[in-house]
Each structure stands twice: as C-alpha cells, then as structure tokens.
Symmetry: C2
Subunit: 337 residues, 2 copies
Amino acid sequence: LEASLTTVFDVAKEAGVSIATVSRVLRGTASVSETTKLRVLKVIGELGYQPNRMAQGLRLGRTETVAFAVGDIEQSVYSAMTKHLQAALERLGLDLLLYNLGHSEARLLKLLDNAAALGVQAIAIASSDALPERELAGRVDMFARAGIAIVSINQDLSGHGIPSVLYDDKGAARRAVSHLIATACGPVAYVGRIAGSAVGSNRFAGYVAAHEEAGIAFDPELVWDAAYRYRAGYDAVAQACRAGKRFGALQAGSDEMAMGAIAALQDIGRRVPEDCKIVGFGGADWAEFSRPGIATLTSNPETMAAHVAAILEALHAGTAPPLRTVMERRFARRASA
Amino acid sequence: LEASLTTVFDVAKEAGVSIATVSRVLRGTASVSETTKLRVLKVIGELGYQPNRMAQGLRLGRTETVAFAVGDIEQSVYSAMTKHLQAALERLGLDLLLYNLGHSEARLLKLLDNAAALGVQAIAIASSDALPERELAGRVDMFARAGIAIVSINQDLSGHGIPSVLYDDKGAARRAVSHLIATACGPVAYVGRIAGSAVGSNRFAGYVAAHEEAGIAFDPELVWDAAYRYRAGYDAVAQACRAGKRFGALQAGSDEMAMGAIAALQDIGRRVPEDCKIVGFGGADWAEFSRPGIATLTSNPETMAAHVAAILEALHAGTAPPLRTVMERRFARRASA
DNA sequence: CTGAAAGCGCTTACAG
DNA sequence: CTGAAAGCGCTTACAG
C-alpha cells in the first residue's frame, strides 16, 4: 500500500476532535457547533486534507462520478456536448468518465453492466444510433434500485421512464426543407443516416413532412442513407451525380455531410448555392467559416448540458425531473442556401 | 446504503471456498489449484459478479482510472486524441476521466491536487498551452511516491522527468514553410499561437528556421499571434488585408485557423492558392473536404495513444519508459498550397 | 494451496 | 453537540 495522504485521523488529532466530527463538518449534514466547525475547517485547510474518494465511495455506495457514453466524439456536435457537459458536471462537483461508443452497442452494454460496480452516480447517453431499447428498459429498475440515474441525450427514451433531453429534429428539418422547396429550382435531395438512427429518422421525417405540406412528392431516388461523416456525404453526392441524378437542393443530416457534399459538387463544377442549395444539420462551429458558409440547424450544447445537470440535481434531491425536454433548433441561413 | 450487488461473500459461499480464495482467482497473482479456480470462475460467471471498484480502490490505493487533461476538446486534434486514448486505455482495462482544461491553468492545478484522493493511476496531459512547469515539477516526487504516473502529450516535459510524447513540430513547420517559400510569389506570413504556447513556439521556430535556411529574412509584420480557432484565423487575416499587408503564402498554426484564413481571403476576392498559398497544421479529418483542400501537417493520434499506453504499461510493470518519444508529421500537400 | 483476520478511510446510527 | 464503534467490500500478509 502507498504512502498515505492525510486522513480524517490526522485532521481529528490536530483539531482535537473525533473523526466523526471531522466527517460531519465535511459533509455538512449533521449539526456541529460553530467553533469546532471553524477549528476543523482551519485544520483541513492547513493540512490540505482531501477526503479519500474511494473510501467515501465504498461507504456511500457511489462516487462523485458520471459516466458519459457518447456516440462519436470526433463529430463536432458531440465534442461540443462533451465539453459543456463536463463543465456543467464540474460545477456540481462531479467528474466525467468518458466512453466513446463509436457505434458499438457492445460497449454501451458493457458500461451498463459495469455501472453499479463502478459506483457512478449517473449514466448519460448521447448517441444518434438507435439504442438497444430492450436492454435499457430491462435495466431501468435495477438502476433505480441502485440509485443510478440515467439520462438520454438526443433521443427520446421517456417511454421507458428515462428522462430525455432532445431537439425537435423533425420540426427543424421540416422548416429547412420547406425553405429549400420554396427557393430551389429543382427537387430537394436528402442525405443522412435513416435506418438505425433514431435522430436520423426524425430528420428524414421532417423532410417528408415538408414535402407533404408543400403538396409535392419527394423522389425516393434522391434519398441517400449514409453515415454522418465527411466522406459519406462526399461519396453519396459524387455517386448520385455520376448516375445522372439532378437536384436543385440538398438537405444533409449533418454539417460534416454538407461539407463533403459541397466538395463533391464543386469538384464536378456545380456551384453552391447557384446550382444547388445545401443545408447542414447541427450548427458546427466551423460551418460559418466554410465557403460558402454552410446553412444549418443549430444546436445549443450549453443549454442541453444545463438541462442534463438539472435532471441529475433533481434526481439527487429526490424530486421528479422532467421526463421529456424538447429543445428547438434555429435555422441559421447562410450562403449555401 | 444501497441494495448491494453480489460480493465476494456470495461467490465464496456458492463456490464453497473462502473469500480469500475468490479474491485470489480474481487477481490471478497467488496460486490457486486448477479445480477450485475453475469452480470459482464458474460461480462468478453464473452470478454475474463484478468486483466493487471502490472497495478495490480503497484497499489497493488506486482505481483502474486515468485522468486525461485535454486543452480543448472542441479542436479536432484533441477530440481525435481523446477518442484514441480512450480506446487504448480501454484495452488496458482503464477508464478515462476527462478534464477539459479550456486554457484554465487553475483547472489543471486542481486536478493535480485531487489526483491522489481520486485514486487515479495516471494523469495524461495534452495541451498546447505552456504548462505551469514549476508546479508540475514540484509534484513529480509526490506523484512518484503515490504511484501516480504522469505523461505529457504534445509538449516536452522530459526535463522534469515526465515521459513526453510529442511531434517534431519545428521540423514539420520548417518543411512546409520551405515549400511555401520556394513556390509562393510573395513573402510567407505566419498566424498562430506563439507566446504562451509550447507547441506554437516550436511551430514558429520552424517558420523562422525555414527562412534562415533559404537565406531570407521573414517580415515580423507578417507574423500574427492569435488563438487556434477559426475566428482568430479569419480575423487576423482580414485585419492584415485591411491594413494593406501583402503576402503570397501563409503558414497557419492549426487547420482551423487555415480554414478561417481561407474564408477571409475569399471574402475579399483573393484566390487560394493562386493569390495566396496556405498550409494548416494538425491533419484534421475535414481538411481534405474543404475547397480548396487544405494542405496540412498530419497527426497520428492512434500511434500517439499507443505510445502513451505503452508508457503507462511500462510504469505499471516497474520498467523504465522512454522519457521522450518524438513523432514525425507528414506534409500532406493539397490544393491550398 | 487455503482460510481467518486485519485493515484500507470513510460515514452514520447509537448513546450520551 | 459529540464520541466510540460498526461496517462498506475488498486484498494480502500470516499461519497452517
């Protein structure tokens, strides 16, 4: 065993009290006389005492830690979310344990199985992949008993009793696509994840709804199911153009795809927005610095993180958190559309 | 206290052995007869037993956790690094505790002070900001005594006995700038962090070295010290152009800045690369999908993460790790240069 | 090879 | 308001 740090015993001895009293002033729950509290606090400061988190964890059954399972931290929307969630948790005195899912369902399941033994207070899941709802639902009771909170970011799991914070992606896509239908000279294409993506299917539903609203049929030939990354956007559009497909506008499922799509169009001499208008999705910070600036549906990761933090606080305080929080996206119109 | 999970006691009872034996097969260190080992393993599987990490942590003085202090996770090079480090640690059975520094030295110092109480095995620091070397150096002995490994990513702290994995940024910048000097029709400008940035000063040193090598003087008026983000690149270049500065090429300290710089030039009608060649830094995944494709000095976060993991393994095994690992960047030539 | 026992550093009923 | 004591779930000398 290691050279030990200062412990409650050191503080107690120095302050002339019992370790129980030290612990009481530390926790702030039980009542301690003002003078002894001050004395203990002074000693704690002098010795630079920090309570051993592992001992606290063993005793309390959990540590000041939250597990964050994130779909793909290389995507800007997720790294922004991670940054703000970490900051929000830090304000609550919670540390963030990061798990990058990378589209691996097995990783998520492993985390769910480890959570209790790990002693995390909560699990936050932010993924666009369709989650294993059956497995999640089956564990909700276990987590509740173990006092582990679980929060879904981006997709609606409130039906399983899991508090969810999400965007109105269908409404956002509907607005953007309506704009494209109205202003583009040609049919509107769609590229993005659809099958297997909870988020993606909502966005695509907005694309469909906008067409219904306009009283026109969308062309299934102009709908391409592809991953959210740059290359997927590039390849889908390049291939469609090679196949002779014609479209005057494109709604992309992510800003990354929009950027790839723009590159593909420019590479064959089609101009954006003159020949084809494009809207991305997610409000990546770089979208306004691309040329043409990429129109997009914005995110607000800071507010979203605040909602998640509020849910965790409510759960911690034993009050009922909102089961379903829906945020709006703003259509940021830029040169590309 | 919570509804408890299965413990060593449950396993021991079920397998008809003592908890000591259960623990021995778990750890795999002491010798256990093959038959009892098999029996215990079987019961562990049946009960789905997971050792309580907090109890292990208290007993062993540390948990299977590594703290990762990262400069700014919103920058692509850092999110890529985070992804690969998490994956590499996962393979070693280690969880990653994420701290986004966001250029706050106080946050790093707080982490250093908490590390022992937190029970982390190691601290990995990846930042481009000049680190508080005095404070770090002053804690090296304490960390060594506490058995906490510390690794520096991106900047050289080997002089303080801290194993460091870094790129030859000076050499990389020198090569790129030499290319720009040779091919651009006009002086080469530089935009990036210089003061206060360990990484940045190396890159700038490469810019200077390339000029020396070419036997020409660089123009201090064409050197702009600015943050690594899109907007800083945009603003620095826009302002320089407004001030009537003329340059035929620009070396940027990051791909983000390069993208911002390209936007600023295009917005005033200057063409890239015809009027001004540009090279970024970092090899962001999106750089090749920007138009023009952004030439850059690549990173290899996966290899870097592997080096870090190897250092942690060596330290864990009690063998001496390489104190200083220098990786090369590749000049990815693209349309922008 | 195996078990009984001590102890890691806390927190919280229980008494006073 | 305060202290003595039990116990959270492990691991590892110590004995055998």
